[in-house]
């Protein structure tokens, strides 16, 4: 991966979450009283430097999308704080927030649902330009053409409607729309998972090129661990609303320190039959517990293979582990991270792979 260049003089994180929480109420009964809450994001601290890409992985429902939305205030946090360029988003006036919005955008998973079918592609891309009064008339049209070209679409497509495009083309339209306001930070929420295999690479390359050309900062959410490694400088792993591991991708993929990270890696199928035959898998038993009622102590203990191997130590059930340093630029929330680090579960080393026949 190319080294990331940081704009001169802009030290410090661009985006920061500090003990961020998003709890959704569970209502019940005739009076719709609050019965409890879904702790979708339950105290996450994470900072992203300018020009950096942080990947976010974890099982479905662990809170990735909710965290991504809360970091740009598309979702109101119920606790903790989210900061952008040093400013606490909760303390901004509506006007200030609107101005900041321009600098933070989101790209959604679904290239079908996220574009208004009644608007032409040109209008879809022009809309945020209008909303933020960035350009009008000819200049606006010129900008739309430029954006379409930037994402690899022919500007003549501006007059057409979303249904006339393939999934990959629609995702490009979504990217053009997000870029229209010249954002600095983009939350990419599963940007390629709805696309065809042969198209995913095109969109991934596009996102990487744009990052380099425009100096963008990404929070890149995806369930595909190989894709996340490909784009991310650092990667975070979530489980039941908590960040359980975070660190430099290079480090986390080579030496995962949390048993959940190792289990996730172990579950990824590898497109090489020789590697597949040789691998030893740990398969997590059961399903993710309800985020309304997370297990006591370490939230992962009901499914943890290391807990079982260690003979079910008591502190896993009673003491919630803190996210603590376990190596250079790597933190994990596990009482026994050192034991996890030295296990061979889950890691696929390139050296394991038989050399591909060169034709």
């Amino acid at each position: 991966m190319d080294p990331v260049t940081h704009p001169a003089g802009a030290a410090g994180p661009l985006v920061e979450a500090d003990g961020l929480m998003v709890h959704f109420p569970i209502l019940g009964g005739i009076l719709q009283r609050r019965r409890g809450s879904v702790r979708a994001v339950d105290g996450v601290s994470l900072s992203i430097q300018r020009g950096e890409t942080v990947g976010l992985v974890g099982e479905s429902g662990c809170g990735k999308s909710t965290l991504g939305r809360a970091m740009i205030k598309l979702r109101e946090p119920t606790g903790g704080s989210a900061r952008f360029d040093g400013r606490d988003l909760a303390r901004l006036s509506a006007r200030e927030l609107r101005r900041l919005r321009r600098r933070m955008q989101i790209i959604f998973q679904d290239p079908y649902g996220s574009l208004d079918p009644r608007m032409s592609v040109g209008d879809i891309v022009a809309e945020p330009i209008q909303t933020h009064r960035l350009a009008s008339g000819r200049a606006k049209h010129e900008r739309v053409r430029e954006l379409l070209r930037l994402v690899g679409l022919d500007p003549v497509f501006a007059a057409r409607y979303p249904h006339e495009f393939s999934g990959g083309q629609r995702q490009r339209i979504g990217v053009a729309r997000a870029l229209a306001v010249e954002p600095e930070f983009i939350v990419c929420d599963e940007p390629i998972s709805a696309l065809d295999v042969s198209i995913q690479g095109q969109v991934l390359n596009l996102l990487i090129d744009l990052r380099r050309e425009l100096g963008l900062t990404y929070l890149f959410i995806a369930h595909d661990l190989a894709v996340v490694r490909h784009v991310s400088d650092r990667v975070g792993v979530m489980y039941l609303g908590r960040l359980v591991e975070i660190g430099a991708s290079r480090r986390v993929y080579a030496l995962p320190a949390h048993p959940d990270t190792r289990a996730l890696l172990s579950a990824v199928p590898v497109a090489d039959p020789a590697v597949e035959r040789r691998r030893r898998r740990v398969i997590l038993a059961g399903d993710v517990p309800s985020p309304a009622n997370p297990p006591p102590g370490c939230r992962f203990h009901t499914r943890c293979w290391l807990y079982e191997r260690l003979g079910r130590p008591e502190n896993c059930r009673t003491v919630e582990p803190e996210l603590r340093p376990v190596g250079a630029d790597q933190r994990a929330a596990c009482h026994y991270a050192e034991a996890a680090l030295t296990s061979d579960v889950g890691v696929v080393r390139p050296a394991d792979a038989a050399p591909r026949d060169a034709h």
Binding site: S60, Q200, D287, P350
Partner: protein, 372 residues
């Protein structure tokens, strides 16, 4: 998923005599005989020959499945891989005669299942055979489970109908099946409805229903696409151990090459309605002889390959299957294209230097071709 694709108009006499409908004792005896090991004479469980299925739509004829040809051996797991819209599901539905007609129709070919050409059976015979011998697991369990019926009843009805079990026996069998697919406290969960199960659990229930009558062939159409990698690994492990234990053959449809690499003995790669390459997994992944297969392998980041640089991508988009080009359908996106590729249709021909059955549809890798 409703309606049987009827036999093509040209079908000659059915293999089962008209009179011997399966509802009769005679018919039942005939179906029971299918699967008799003594009677195999070296044939395969499933021989699909030049199968073609089309959809007749207002926009034109969709050539969804075009002369698809492959074998599946007893107890074997065969992968059918390819991108969205390439014809994987329609191939599977055609084999089970579940293509909705109209607009669809099987326009040619043979599907010989354990020695019987399925395309010549009456709809009723086919229905019986399907329930008894072929199990189906679909991508989205919610749309194929009945939301208003308990899970126990859905499994036991399938078992009772096809195995002729009494109610209590069918109920015991349902609990056994749930336990076999790894659902804890199975007897307690028979009275639950599908919405009370998680996505992975529902897929386990679907597998239990598909296995209820001990099929010889399990068709699994993207059984884990909607699930997490961790749950996907659970389901794949389950399918693997069940197919080994019960010696059930599996036709596994997936767009994930990693899953095919780990699960299958052999793989067929489809592109735009045609099989473009087939062979043993090690040949398909180690020595692909069709540029599309190679490009698919190269276009995704892999955990076993150090990341870096740009991904090699396949430019352009898969073609429209209404009036597809007669010659090589991949040509507009192929880096190795030459004039012949646009002039004549390449056949699926053997690549004899490689393992058993390795075949590719590409002029460039034919003997004397230009792709090294």
């Amino acid at each position: 998923m409703s309606g049987d694709g009827g036999a093509p108009a040209t079908a000659a006499e059915p293999r089962l005599p008209e009179a011997a409908h399966i509802s009769t004792p005679e018919g039942r005896r005939l179906v029971a005989q299918i699967g008799d090991e003594a009677d195999r004479h070296g044939r395969k469980l499933l021989e699909v020959r030049n199968l073609s299925t089309q959809f007749f739509t207002p926009d034109g004829v969709v050539h969804a499945v075009d002369e698809v040809d492959f074998d599946l051996d007893y107890g074997e797991t065969l992968g059918l891989v390819g991108e969205s819209g390439c014809g994987k599901s329609v191939t599977a539905l055609s084999i089970a005669r579940l293509v909705a007609e109209p607009p669809g129709r099987i326009v040619g070919g043979e599907v010989v299942f354990d020695g019987i050409d399925l395309l010549r059976l009456s709809s009723e015979e086919m229905r019986l055979l399907r329930g008894r011998r072929i199990g189906f697991v679909f991508q989205d369990p919610m749309s194929s489970l009945n939301p208003t019926m308990t899970v126990g009843r859905q499994i036991s009805e399938s078992a009772a109908a096809h195995l002729g079990l009494s109610r209590p026996a069918a109920s015991t069998r349902a609990a056994d099946l749930l336990s076999m697919v790894g659902i804890p406290r199975p007897a307690d969960r028979l009275g639950d409805y599908p919405h009370q199960f998680s996505g992975g659990m529902r897929q386990r229930v679907m597998i239990a229903i598909a296995l209820a009558c001990d099929p010889m062939l399990l068709i699994a159409d993207e059984p884990t696409t909607a699930l997490d990698v961790t749950v996907q690994a659970q389901i794949m492990e389950l399918l693997r151990s069940l197919s080994e234990r019960l010696r059930t053959a599996v036709l596994l449809i997936t767009h994930d090459l990693g899953i095919a690499a780990g699960m299958c003995q052999r793989v067929c790669v489809m592109y735009a309605g045609r099989i473009v390459e087939r062979g043993l997994v090690d040949d398909i992944f180690g020595r692909p002889r069709m540029p599309y297969t190679r490009a698919l392998l190269d276009s995704r980041p892999r955990l076993d390959v150090e990341p870096g640089g740009r991904l090699r991508t396949i430019e352009g988009f898969p073609p429209d299957l209404v009036d597809p080009r007669p010659a090589c359908r991949f040509a507009p996106r192929c880096a190795h294209r030459r004039a012949v590729c646009d002039e004549a249709k390449p056949d699926l021909t053997p690549r004899p230097a490689d393992g058993e059955g390795h075949a590719a549809r590409c002029w460039g890798t034919e003997a004397g071709g230009w792709i090294p």
